[in-house]
C-alpha cells in the first residue's frame, strides 16, 4: 500500500474526526466542574464507569462485526457518548444503571445500526430514554445542589454509594435525595400552585434551580467554544433556544398562572447540554443548513410541549429522538439551491 493517496485532492485538510471529539470533550469540562461543585463527585465515578463500559462494548462489537479495532476505538465517539450520558443521568445513579444504559447505547443504538456514522438515533439519548421508561425512580432521583443539605459527599462515599447503594453509615438515597426543580415545578403547577410562588422555594435560584442554572450556563459556554472552533455550526443551538424562548414566552404571557418563566426553561434541566451537545450530534441531526434550523426548532418546541403538557418533567431526550426520526424528510426538503439551477434571464 502506498504511503500517500494518489488521487486528487492531494492536499490534506486538518480536520479529523478524533480532533472533533477531543474538542467536544474539552468543551464539556466547565460544565463538569460545575456539576461536581453542585452535586458532588459522583458524576466523576459515573463518567469513569461509563467510559470503561463503553470502550469494552465498542471493542466487543467491533470484534463481533469483524471491524478493525484501532481506528474506531480511538476515534473518540464512544467516549463522547459515554461522557454525555454520564453527565445527563443523576450523579448518584447506581452502577448497574450506567452499565445497562451504556451497553444499550453502544450495542443496540450504535452498532446494530452499523456503527459510527450509521445510527439514526442519538445513542446517549436512546439509552437515557430506555432507562427513564424502565427505571423512572432511579432516573429521577437527583441530589439537591449543595448548600441545601449537609450531606455533601466526598469521592470515596460517592463511589461506595454508586456501587453498594448505601453509605458507610447505612443511609439510603432517600435520606438526602430529592426531585429536580423541573420536577417540582411540574408537580406543583399541577397542584395549581403559582409558578411565581414556586420559584421562591429554596430549591430555586435566580432563574432556574440553584446550581442547575450555572451548569446550564457553563454548558452554553462550552458550546460557544465549539461554535468558535467550527466543530458545530450555530444553526441547531440557535434555532432550538430561539424556539424554546418563543414558545415559553408566549405561554408565559398568556397564562402566567400556569407557566414557568422563559428563563426558567432556558436554564433548567438539560436545555443547554441538549442544545449544544446532544442535538448537534452530526450523525443523527439534519445536515443541510436550513434543515438544521428546522431540526433545532423542532427539538425546542417538542421539549417545551413535553415539559409543560407531557408526562415527564424534562423533554430533551424525547424531543431529540423524535426529531431524529424526521431527519431524512427534513434533509430531503431543505436541499440548497444548486449553482446554475435558477431561472435564466
Amino acid at each position: 500500500m502506498p504511503l500517500f493517496r494518489l488521487s486528487p485532492p492531494f492536499l490534506s485538510g486538518t480536520s479529523r474526526v478524533t480532533l472533533h471529539m477531543i474538542q467536544l470533550l474539552l468543551a464539556l469540562v466547565p460544565a463538569l466542574i460545575a456539576l461536581v461543585f453542585f452535586f458532588g463527585p459522583g458524576v466523576l465515578v459515573n463518567i469513569t464507569l461509563a467510559i470503561t463500559v463503553a470502550l469494552l462494548a465498542e471493542a466487543l462489537m467491533l470484534k463481533l462485526r469483524g471491524r478493525p479495532l484501532k481506528p474506531f476505538l480511538t476515534d473518540g465517539s464512544a467516549i463522547v457518548t459515554a461522557v454525555l450520558f454520564a453527565m445527563a443521568i443523576p450523579p448518584l445513579a447506581p452502577w448497574w444503571l450506567t452499565t445497562i444504559g451504556i451497553l444499550f447505547a453502544i450495542i443496540f443504538a450504535k452498532h446494530l445500526f452499523g456503527g459510527l456514522g450509521y445510527n439514526p438515533f442519538n445513542p446517549a439519548m436512546v439509552a437515557y430514554v430506555l432507562l427513564l421508561l424502565s427505571f423512572p425512580l432511579e432516573m429521577t432521583t437527583w441530589l439537591p445542589a449543595t448548600g441545601l443539605t449537609e450531606n455533601s459527599l466526598d469521592l470515596v462515599s460517592a463511589f461506595q454509594f454508586i456501587f453498594t447503594g448505601e453509605l458507610a453509615n447505612g443511609a439510603g438515597i432517600d435520606t438526602f435525595s430529592g426531585a429536580t426543580p423541573l420536577d417540582v415545578m411540574k408537580t406543583q403547577v399541577g397542584l395549581s400552585e403559582l409558578p411565581s410562588y414556586i420559584i421562591n422555594q429554596p430549591l430555586f435560584g435566580l432563574f432556574g434551580g440553584i446550581g442547575w442554572e450555572w451548569i446550564n450556563i457553563w454548558f452554553a459556554v462550552g458550546g460557544l467554544f465549539l461554535i468558535y472552533r467550527g466543530v458545530i455550526s450555530w444553526h441547531i443551538p440557535a434555532a432550538m433556544i430561539a424556539a424554546l424562548l418563543v414558545i415559553s414566552t408566549a405561554t408565559y404571557l398568556i397564562t402566567p398562572e400556569a407557566a414557568a418563566s422563559p428563563m426558567f426553561h432556558l436554564l433548567s434541566g438539560g436545555t443547554m447540554i441538549g442544545a449544544f451537545f446532544i442535538a448537534t450530534d452530526p450523525v443523527t441531526a439534519s445536515t443541510t443548513l436550513k434543515g438544521r434550523l428546522v431540526f433545532g426548532a423542532g427539538v425546542g418546541i417538542l421539549t417545551y410541549i413535553i415539559r409543560a403538557w407531557g408526562g415527564y418533567p424534562d423533554g430533551i431526550a424525547f424531543a431529540v429522538l423524535l426529531m431524529n426520526m424526521l431527519v431524512p424528510l427534513i434533509d430531503y426538503y431543505t436541499q440548497p439551491k444548486v449553482y446554475g439551477s435558477g431561472a435564466v434571464k
Binding site: R5, F10, S12, S15, G117, Y339, G340, V344
Partner: protein, 506 residues
C-alpha cells in the same frame, strides 16, 4: 480598479505555497535532444500527422493538421528530424499511450518565416480565428479547449463581456502570476485580438489579491493602451476555487451560468491570461503555440520556478534541470494539488495543458482507510456549487445512480473542497467521478439497447409485412388459379354443351 459584485458559497482559504516558485524570473528550459508531441493535446479530435518519418522540419512548421471542427494543429517546437510517429506514453490520469510525433532536434532552432502583423485591426474576426486555430492555440489554464471556438460566439449569442482569468486559485501554481508580471504587454496584445475577434469592448481582467506584483504590472501595461480603455482590472479576494470559470463569473458579475449551459448563454466569454499571451504572439508575431510556461515546484524541487518549456520536452529532463529529488512513494502531480492528477512516470512529454509539475506536497493526504461518514456536513458547507456531498457519497457508494442525478451530481465541478475538509478523509471526488463515469456508461448502454430494440422492432415489422405480402400474393395467385380453372371449366362446359347441341343438331 473596481470591486467584485458577487461571491459564491463555500470554498476554502488554502495555504498558497506560491512564494517558492516566484523568487526567480521565468527561465528558459534548454533544448532537449528529443521532443515527443502527442497528437492530442486538446479537448476534441486528435490532429493528423502531415509529416513522415525522416522528414526535416523547422521550428514552428506545422507537423499535424486539425481533424474535424473541435481540433487544432500541432507545430514543431524546434528544428530537427522526425524520427518516429507512433504510440508513446502520454501524461494522462490513466497512464495511457497515444499517437505521438517524435522529433530529434538539430540544435539549430531554425524558425520558419514568420508573418509579423503590426496592424491587426485590418484582419476580420473570421481571419483572426482562423489564424488562432492555425497556430494551434488551446486554453492554457489546464483544460485545453481549442481557443478559436471560444472566440466564435456565432449568430445566436451576443457577447457582452470578455473575462481574462488571471486568478490562479490553486496552491503552488504560479505560471499565470509570472506571465502577468513579466509579459503584461504581450497579454494586452492578446486581449486586443480577442476583443476584435469577439467584437466586444467590455473586458475584465480578474486577479486574486495575493498577486500584488502581477496586479501592478498589468495596470501599468493597461494604462499604456489606448485601445483597451473599456478594460478593467478587478482584484478579487483569494479563495479556492475562484479561478473556476463558473465561480469567477459569480464573483465578478453576481450571475450564474445555467446548469449544463455555457458561459455564452449569459453573454460572457472567458480566457486564461496565458492563452491571451499566446494569441498575441500568434497574431502579432506569427508564432504558433510551441511552448508554455510551466511551474515546477514542490518541496523536493531544489530550484523551483517557472520555465518556458518547449512542448515535447521530457518531464524528467525538466525535473533534473531544476534538480529535483523525487521520493518514490509520494504523488507526482501534473496540475495543482487540488485538481491535478498523479503522473504514471516522468518519461512523459510536457504538453499544452501542463501548467504545473508538482513534486512534494507539503501536507499530503496519507493513504489511510477512511472512517465512515459522520454526516458532519462540512463538505456541504465547503461546496462552491451548493451540492450535498454527504448525500451524493451515500448514493454513489450504493451505486444508486438515479439518486445521484437527483442530487445534481453533474453540477459537481470536482474542485475537491469536500474531500479536503472531510474529517473522515473520505475521497469524495473519486466517488463522484466514478458515479459520473458509470452514469455515462449506462447512458451509452441505454442508447445502444434502445437502438437494438428499434432495430429489432423494425425487423419484426418488416418480417410481418413480408409475410402478409406473401400471403396476399399467394391468395391472389390462388384466386387467379381458381379463376382460370373456373374459366377453363366453363369453357369446357360450354364446349361440351356446344358439342351436345351439335350432336342434337346432328
Amino acid at each position: 480598479m473596481t470591486q467584485p459584485l458577487g461571491s459564491f458559497p463555500g470554498g476554502l482559504i488554502l495555504p498558497g505555497q506560491k512564494k517558492r516558485s516566484t523568487q526567480t524570473p521565468i527561465r528558459k528550459m534548454p533544448l532537449t535532444k528529443t521532443l515527443v508531441l502527442p497528437l492530442q493535446q486538446h479537448i476534441g479530435e486528435p490532429a493528423v500527422a502531415t509529416v513522415e518519418v525522416g522528414e526535416k522540419v523547422l521550428k514552428g512548421q506545422k507537423i499535424a493538421a486539425a481533424e474535424g471542427h473541435v481540433s487544432v494543429g500541432l507545430h514543431a517546437p524546434s528544428s530537427g528530424t522526425i524520427i518516429a510517429i507512433g504510440d508513446h506514453p502520454i501524461p494522462h490520469p490513466s497512464g495511457l499511450s497515444a499517437s505521438c510525433i517524435t522529433i530529434e532536434t538539430d540544435g539549430e532552432d531554425r524558425w520558419i518565416d514568420r508573418q509579423v502583423n503590426e496592424n491587426i485591426s485590418q484582419l476580420s474576426s473570421h481571419e483572426l480565428r482562423q489564424r488562432i486555430r492555425e497556430a494551434g492555440i488551446v486554453g492554457l489554464g489546464g483544460a485545453g479547449f481549442p481557443s478559436f471556438i471560444k472566440l466564435n460566439p456565432g449568430i445566436h449569442h451576443h457577447v457582452e463581456t470578455l473575462i481574462l482569468n488571471g486568478v490562479e486559485c490553486e496552491p503552488y501554481i504560479t505560471c499565470d502570476d509570472m506571465i502577468m508580471r513579466e509579459r503584461a504587454q504581450g497579454i494586452m496584445d492578446g486581449i486586443e485580438v480577442m476583443q476584435l475577434a469577439l467584437n466586444v469592448k467590455n473586458c475584465v481582467i480578474a486577479i486574486e489579491d495575493n498577486k500584488p506584483e502581477a496586479i501592478s504590472a498589468m495596470e501599468l501595461a493597461l494604462a499604456s493602451r489606448e485601445q483597451l480603455k473599456d478594460t478593467k482590472i478587478v482584484v478579487i479576494p483569494t479563495r479556492y476555487p475562484t479561478g473556476s470559470e463558473k465561480q469567477l463569473i459569480q464573483v465578478l458579475t453576481g450571475k450564474q451560468v445555467p446548469s449544463r449551459g455555457l458561459t455564452l448563454d449569459i453573454g460572457i466569454v472567458l480566457h486564461n491570461v496565458g492563452t491571451a499571451y499566446a494569441v498575441g504572439r500568434a497574431i502579432k508575431h506569427g508564432e504558433p503555440l510551441i511552448s508554455r510556461i510551466v511551474t515546477v515546484t514542490g518541496k523536493d524541487v531544489k530550484h523551483a520556478g517557472n520555465f518556458e518549456t518547449l512542448f515535447g520536452t521530457p518531464i524528467h529532463e525538466l525535473l533534473s534541470f531544476c534538480e529535483t529529488k523525487r521520493q518514490p512513494e509520494e504523488p507526482f502531480i501534473q496540475g495543482g494539488p487540488m485538481m491535478g492528477y498523479n503522473l504514471a512516470g516522468d518519461k512523459l512529454p510536457v504538453t499544452k495543458t501542463a501548467n504545473c509539475i508538482l513534486v512534494g506536497v507539503d501536507e499530503p493526504v496519507e493513504a489511510t482507510k477512511p472512517l465512515p461518514c459522520i454526516r458532519c456536513g462540512d463538505c456541504a458547507d465547503a461546496c462552491p456549487v451548493s451540492l450535498l456531498p454527504q448525500q451524493l457519497y451515500w448514493h454513489s457508494r450504493s451505486k444508486d445512480l438515479e439518486k445521484t442525478r437527483e442530487y445534481n451530481l453533474f453540477d459537481c465541478i470536482e474542485c475537491g473542497c469536500c474531500s479536503y475538509v472531510c474529517p473522515s478523509k473520505i475521497p469524495l471526488v473519486q466517488y463522484f467521478r466514478f458515479a459520473k463515469t458509470e452514469t455515462m456508461n449506462q447512458e451509452q448502454e441505454q442508447q445502444k439497447s434502445d437502438l437494438a430494440r428499434i432495430r429489432h422492432d423494425n425487423r419484426q415489422e418488416r418480417q410481418e409485412r413480408e409475410r402478409l405480402e406473401k400471403e396476399e400474393k399467394q391468395r391472389k395467385r390462388k384466386a387467379a388459379l381458381a379463376a382460370s380453372k373456373a374459366a377453363k371449366a366453363k369453357k369446357e362446359a360450354e364446349a361440351a354443351a356446344e358439342t351436345q347441341t351439335d350432336k342434337q343438331e346432328t
